[in-house]
Amino acid sequence: MKALRILHVDDEPDIREIVGISLALDPGILLQSCDNGYDALALAADWSPDVVLLDVIMPEMDGPQTLGKLRERSGTAEIPVVFMTAKAQSREIAYFRSLGAVGIIQKPFDPITLARSVRDYVAGCASISAS
């Protein structure tokens, strides 16, 4: 089975490490991570991940801005984005969805089911594209 390539973007090093350990529970996942939106744009273009897991609050370029830049570039415009956020108000969730995120994972997240959640969002996205 082809590995699922995930790019994780979060400015908090502890969260990056924990997400790395959590996703490593699924041997079918390949992970790259970075701590800011600029590196995310470069990595997304070079590595072509199947999905980007994107933090919302980051200095300089936040998650929504990073998503906007990904969508502007032809090589990355179609990559599904899942927001990981500690912001959980219904108003905020509606805003993130309106930006085109295929999913939202709220922090604190369950590390045991994180890989499954990401796979489900990617599968849902693929089924929409195929229909």
């Binding site: 502890d14 108003r91 309106s98 604190p108 369950d110």
Partner: protein, 248 residues
């Protein structure tokens, strides 16, 4: 869905509501981020995903994890109360068919009772009844009442959810067969951070669940109350105005 400008998200809020919204949003982020690191790390250790732990260490990790989760619930409840207190805009009122909502709540709460063999059952005195409400908030009321009922139920007992017409509309009640509410605790039961003493002396709740229930019911134009005789269980009820016709 068309992308919303961030300003559009806040257009319909007053200045006070906007300040509250930003406060909740900022506090939520600042508290949840370290809590994510703590609870996720403990969860990974507890699951054995990082190797087998000696029994004493496993027990300590388990205690730390359950307290971390309690802290998450506390943060959620405090922020939720702040939102309910300061804004009315987070409620999305619509026609809600109550029986279907109660069945969904019972289904969602069954896993809470399963470990101790506590069963949940619906006894409906009406076949269909609609209220004007926010379905998510009504579900929140039911989950708070049902989790309380499970917490205080003896093993293998039954919790009964009833729904019936009342003078003011419709009354929903949750009855458990637990120890009941001590008389000296009754006057404080809906106060914030009030908690009845648990059997083992440990506090597992936040002491905010019933306050949240009361505030949500109030926002729906309803009322809330309880009946209990020490040693004979407790019955919590809330009443909501009816939306339209009722099939008896």
């Amino acid at each position: 869905m068309a992308a919303l400008a961030k300003s559009e998200v806040y257009d319909d809020l007053s200045a006070r509501e906007r300040r509250s919204d930003e406060f909740v949003s900022t506090v939520s982020h600042e508290l949840r981020t370290p809590l994510t690191a703590i609870t996720a790390s403990l969860c990974l250790l507890k699951s054995g995903g990082c190797g087998e732990l000696p029994p004493a260490a496993a027990r300590l990790i388990s205690i730390a994890h359950s307290n971390g989760e309690r802290l998450v619930r506390l943060v959620n409840d405090i922020l939720d109360l702040e939102k309910i207190d300061s804004t009315g805009h987070d409620f999305r009122f619509q026609a809600v068919e109550l029986r279907a909502l109660l069945e969904a709540a019972i289904d969602a709460a069954r896993f809470l009772g399963a470990p101790s063999g506590v069963e949940l059952r619906l006894v409906a005195g009406v076949s269909a009844v609609e209220v004007r409400g926010d379905p998510d908030r009504l579900m929140q009321i039911m989950m708070n009442l049902l989790s309380n009922a499970v917490k205080f139920s003896p093993p293998h007992e039954e919790i009964v959810v009833g729904v019936a017409l009342s003078k003011r509309g419709v009354r929903i009640a949750v009855r458990d067969r637990g120890p009941g509410i001590p008389d000296d605790f009754k006057p404080r039961i809906f106060e914030r951070f009030a908690q009845a003493p648990a059997k083992d002396g440990r506090k597992s709740g936040t002491g905010l669940g019933l306050s949240i229930v009361r505030e949500i019911v109030r926002r729906h134009g309803g009322s809330v109350g309880f009946e209990s005789v020490a040693g004979h269980g407790a019955l919590f009820w809330f009443e909501l105005p009816l939306l339209g016709d009722v099939e008896a």
